[in-house]
């Protein structure tokens, strides 16, 4: 029941916003809807914690320790993004970059996107998981091209086509998964349910599962932006409105990765070997290194952070591929802290770009003097993303590195190299932007500070002190992936 209301609220709010999206208080409705969803997700989380294990709502939905953590994260980030979007979109509306219809469209699609992600997270059915991933893509395609500039349309088209191709592979993988499952569980909808599949994963035919995983990996890997399937990501994440960039980078990538690790758990159960893990480690490491070196050459501030997302997805994928309790724990933690830090950074980046009227990094200067909140927000966000202690990303990266030293020491240098290059790239690009004198063309701006600093405080807290119940929680989530 609570589960259904979790999904119901966002679709309802999406419908309402489709009509009143340009109303004066539409952003507040947007915030309210997201906040309500967040509260429901918290209630659900408490319920999971008290009852222990998983709750299922009919056969099609279920929550366990793993996906509820991501549900809470998704609803939290969507709420803060809604708060940020209130100020940000107001400025865009005043500048005339979006009109009446596009405001309505923007707000409705924002909620629909949240809806699609939540379904992807709480669904029990691998087929529905695919459908909602595709729905999330489709909902965001037109958000990316919201400004209708040639580059925005190009980016959105690329996003649409490449993700369409990619995710089709995942559907083929799902067909193969169903083929393997049907032989064990019999025909019908029950054969695609995670709760059934995880029980019988050892009986699934290894040959078919191996083939299925390759397709699922390519499909969901494309959506997670893993190299070499990442071409669409920097464009899509940099051309849309900043709130969209924040949720795309912070949330949608996580969902794709979530789908991937669910599949991996099944394949591991069936194969009993490191086949899936090795593939994921390969993709992860390649993404980390490629993205880190690409970051050195970026000129557009949003592209820089888009590549940073690829880098962090690479790290998390590598961690899940490595497996074992420590690495998987690190992977889950990394997904969460990256999501918080990345969206916070995008908020500051959005404001900075609005203040200078450009996304060119060479034109953005003197942020700390010009607007201390934006400047410090960006600086701290970047420090968190670069993995500086005492932020949470340091903790997760440290855990992953430790596990690598133990299980695959020959890969540790590569991992370290990637992290170091990424750190250097971020620091070199961001330092001149936040420090220095205020350039002449800078416009003053009322920034939305709460979302940025809320996220940063959370990342900091997760870095210096992980409360016992939370640590326990993550451990239980990791158990599921074994």
């Amino acid at each position: 029941m609570i589960l259904l209301s979790l999904l119901g609220i966002s679709i309802l709010v999406a419908l309402i916003l489709a009509f009143i999206g340009d109303w004066r208080y539409a952003p507040e409705v947007n915030i309210g809807g997201s906040l309500l969803t967040f509260i429901v997700s918290l209630v659900l989380a408490l319920q999971v914690y008290h009852e222990g294990g998983s709750i299922s709502g009919s056969a099609y939905f279920f929550v366990d320790y793993l996906n509820i953590s991501l549900v809470v994260l998704t609803t939290l980030v969507s709420t803060t993004t809604a708060v940020f979007s209130r100020r940000y979109m107001r400025v865009e509306r005043e500048h005339g970059r979006v009109g009446h219809w596009r405001m309505r469209f923007y707000h409705a699609m924002f909620q629909l996107f949240i809806f699609a992600m939540l379904i992807a997270l709480v669904t029990n059915n691998f087929g529905v998981l695919w459908i909602s991933m595709e729905l999330a893509t489709l909902a965001t395609v037109l958000l990316v091209s919201l400004y209708r500039t040639p580059t925005a349309i190009e980016a959105a088209w690329k996003y649409f086509i490449l993700c369409g191709v990619g995710i089709a592979q995942a559907l083929f993988g799902t067909v193969l998964l169903y083929f393997a499952a049907e032989r064990v569980l019999g025909a019908g909808g029950n054969a695609l349910l995670w709760t059934n599949l995880s029980r019988v994963s050892s009986q699934l035919d290894p040959t078919v599962m191996r083939l299925a995983f390759v397709f699922l990996m390519v499909g969901y890997g494309t959506k997670a932006g893993l190299v070499p399937l990442h071409n669409w990501l920097p464009d899509a994440h940099s051309e849309g409105p900043t709130p969209v960039s924040a949720v795309l980078s912070g949330l949608l990538l996580n969902i794709a990765l979530y789908a991937l690790i669910r599949c991996k758990a099944l394949v591991d159960g069936s194969l009993g070997s490191g086949f899936a893990g090795n593939i994921m480690m390969g993709f992860g490491l390649l993404s980390l290194l490629t993205a880190a070196f690409s970051m050195l050459r970026q000129k557009d501030i949003k592209r820089l952070f888009a590549y940073s997302s690829i880098e962090h997805m690479g790290i998390a994928t590598f961690a899940f591929g490595l497996g074992g309790p420590i690495a998987t724990f690190g992977g889950v933690l990394h997904m969460i802290v990256h999501s918080l830090a990345k969206s916070a950074t995008f908020f500051s980046v959005g404001h900075a770009a609005q203040m200078h009227g450009t996304q060119e990094m060479s034109h953005i200067r003197g942020l700390i003097r010009g607007n201390p909140a934006v400047g410090w927000g960006m600086f701290l966000g970047v420090m968190a993303l670069a993995g500086m202690p005492p932020f949470g990303i340091f903790t997760s990266e440290f855990l992953i590195l430790t596990a690598t030293m133990k299980d695959a020491p020959y890969l540790a240098p590569l991992l370290l190299l990637g992290l170091a290059v990424a750190f250097a790239a971020l620091f070199r690009k961001v330092q001149p932007m936040v420090a220095g004198l205020v350039p002449s063309g800078q416009k003053p701006l009322t920034a939305a500070n709460i979302p940025v600093f809320l996220h940063l405080v959370l990342v900091l807290l997760l870095g210096i002190y992980l409360p016992g119940f939370l640590a326990n929680w993550f451990h239980l989530a990791v158990e599921i992936l074994k």
Binding site: G127, V165, A168, V208, D235
Partner: protein, 221 residues
């Protein structure tokens, strides 16, 4: 007896679907492409109905009707309207190197055959041998999206891939669960809506539907 005949008819339909995938790859005229796509959908619907009849899985009739409605009538109609509205129905795309593309296509078919060989061994359905054709259709659709430079053609490649996926589901397992099939159809509808909007955006912004000119977003040094 009916079973063997149904298997044979299904094989023939599969072969024709494969042929239509190649025809899509070689066709230059936009309207010709839409027609071939509609034919492919019809073959798919027929094949699904034949399998449904022979295997006694009656839910396949619904899938067949769904395919008929979506891929033979609705989508081609939408494309037809769009193409006329955008005044590109006489467009002939400059396709380079058709023979090379065809050879690549043949290689992809052989590759699909090898990839699906283990499944063919495992399965005992009457449709087990057509899975290779289904995967080949997916791959050929992908090849089309990669080699073509026209927005409408790329979309047709995308839709052909979707056809292949649907065919794969019927071949491997007599169709996915109904929820999934309906969901996929819904996604396809939304996608159709979106690419319709896109055609207009691209056409007004770039004054043509050639996606080659969309090359501003490149890595610069």
């Amino acid at each position: 007896m009916t079973h063997t005949i149904a298997t044979q008819i299904n094989s023939l339909l599969a072969a024709l679907i494969l042929l239509s995938a190649f025809a899509l790859l070689a066709q230059r005229k936009i309207m010709g492409l839409v027609h071939i796509f509609a034919w492919q959908g019809l073959l798919l619907a027929l094949s699904t109905a034949v399998i449904g009849y022979a295997s006694g899985e009656h839910h396949l009739y619904i899938s067949s009707l769904l395919t008929l409605g979506m891929k033979v009538i609705l989508l081609p109609y939408i494309l037809y309207k769009l193409v006329h509205k955008l005044k590109i129905h006489r467009d002939i795309e400059a396709v380079v190197n058709v023979p090379t593309t065809m050879l690549l296509g043949i290689i992809l078919v052989v590759f699909s055959y090898h990839l699906t060989a283990p499944i063919r061994e495992l399965s005992n359905l009457m449709t087990r041998s057509t899975l290779a054709v289904a995967l080949a259709t997916i791959m050929l659709g992908m090849l089309m999206m990669v080699t073509r430079r026209h927005a409408v053609t790329q979309i047709l490649g995308f839709l052909a891939m979707e056809n292949g996926l649907f065919f794969a589901a019927t071949s491997a397992t007599y169709g996915m669960p109904m929820v999934v099939e309906l969901g996929v159809a819904l996604d396809l509808l939304i996608a159709a809506f979106i690419f319709g909007i896109f055609f207009f955006h691209i056409n007004t912004t770039f004054e043509s539907l050639d996606v080659e000119q969309m090359a501003k977003l490149k890595e610069t040094d």
